[in-house]
Symmetry: C2
Subunit: 273 residues, 2 copies
């Protein structure tokens, strides 16, 4: 999905919400466990309940891989079921030597029709470039992540005085334009978000960490917004596990609408819609 | 596999060789493509031909994932076929927030009985710790990788004067002992290998990059060796693609034996066997 269409969908749905499909058999309603493919059944219900209020879905591969080949099938079916009207983020945090990254690119952009793939920067340029195939197939590069461990290495200051995540961003924008590259910046760092926005005014951010991880939608939006919105904000657990009863999909919809309504306000306040 | 048994196997087979199973349908002998599971058939033949001269196998997940659920099945079958007498490295370079890394740990250490998993350090402590389940299940943490892009971030010097890969190593040894943690250090950096060996005298290294990537076995061994050997040296393409004819397994064996014979010399020269 190209940048233009992503922005169009955000305006149309008055939403920059991504629903994270971190689907865990230990947390989904127990009555689903009798179904042939409980993970897919759960995702299907969540997708049906949230389609009109979000622009993206973000299945995290760990939750599928942990069920082996069967889990991969659930993942593939989920991507297919989402279809073409949402931006699909394969949250896989891949990255390897060039020869190998080429294979991961094939996995996620050819066999699975993902729109974006999260990529880890540690191995540098030749581990990232094989994913840059064409506009509309996005590398979503880890910059400053939402977890406590982000402080361990991402904040290390170089002898030039800049933290590692800034070095990552500065290098990466030499590799790809804002039609192909986004950055992961956690909702738990609103101050740094504002600094990063100054550094890369036009790049989209994928912002995880709103909800269960404690990030606040209004403050991150204020820090990250640009003239094109410039962000997709993800929430996983606080939406999909809003209830573990028969009403799980309805409750997920309710949570998604709460976020979407606030997003609509923010978009209007910033004269974007 | 615990440290003691790994060292025992190295001495017994006079080998610290890992055979990398980067099995690519575009490169395996064409006559195998008619089989029901060409990737598994190829791996099976390579494993049968090299079992007695190596201590480890390292399937890289990218080469399996790129065939989706079917590829995962080939991976699972391969791990099962290798069995318990080799150290199995799932080369997946995973790493995510704690909640998610726990799922990856389940994927590779419970469902798949891998002995070690390569992990990317960028997200810090809570992304690595969930993989540290028990002795004999190893985190193999990226420190200084073999590819050209390793220079982009891993070599950035902090304001304290140490390169990022040194910071990674220093932090990580606070998280896990040498019974559970190894480091990836590429064969393409023999000088830094020697420095890293001084920093962590007892930790094992996984050393990729001998063969197709240009690393030299004798010089890396000289830099990395300790009293327990302290390393597993991996070669992938130069072994498994030694021939694309009917004789591919025999030629792979020949290449593996070339490396193993040199290893036996090195082990003897260093009075380890």
């Amino acid at each position: 999905m190209d940048r233009k269409r992503l922005i169009h969908l955000i305006k149309e749905r008055q939403s920059y919400l991504s629903v994270g499909l971190d689907t865990d058999k230990d947390r989904i309603p127990t009555f689903l466990l009798d179904k042939e493919d409980p993970i897919f059944e759960f995702n299907k219900a969540i997708i049906d309940a949230t389609r009109d209020v979000c622009v993206a879905y973000k299945p995290n591969l760990a939750f599928y891989e942990c069920y082996g080949a069967e889990g991969w099938k659930s993942f593939e079916k989920t991507v297919e079921y989402i279809g073409k009207d949402h931006f699909i983020i394969a949250d896989a945090k891949r990255g390897d030597i060039g020869n190998t990254s080429t294979r991961y690119a094939k996995a996620f952009f050819e066999n699975i029709a993902a729109d974006g793939l999260t990529v880890a920067p540690y191995m540098g340029e030749d581990s990232v470039k094989p994913f840059l195939l064409q506009d509309g197939q996005w590398v979503i590069l880890l910059a400053l992540t939402s977890n406590p461990g982000s402080a361990d290495f991402q904040n290390i200051k170089s002898d030039g005085g800049e933290p590692l995540y800034v070095s990552v961003i500065k290098k990466a924008i030499q590799w790809a334009s804002d039609e192909q590259l986004m950055f992961v910046v956690g909702a738990t760092h609103p101050e740094q978000l504002a600094e990063i926005r100054k550094l890369v005014p036009n790049y989209f951010f994928l912002i995880p960490g709103v909800g269960a991880q404690g990030g606040d939608l209004r403050s991150v939006s204020k820090s990250a917004i640009n003239a094109d919105i410039g962000m997709i904000v993800n929430s996983s657990r606080s939406i999909i596990y809003a209830s573990d009863g028969e009403d799980f999909a309805a409750k997920a919809r309710q949570k998604a609408i709460e976020l979407q309504s606030e997003m609509a306000h923010i978009l209007k306040d910033n004269s974007i819609i």
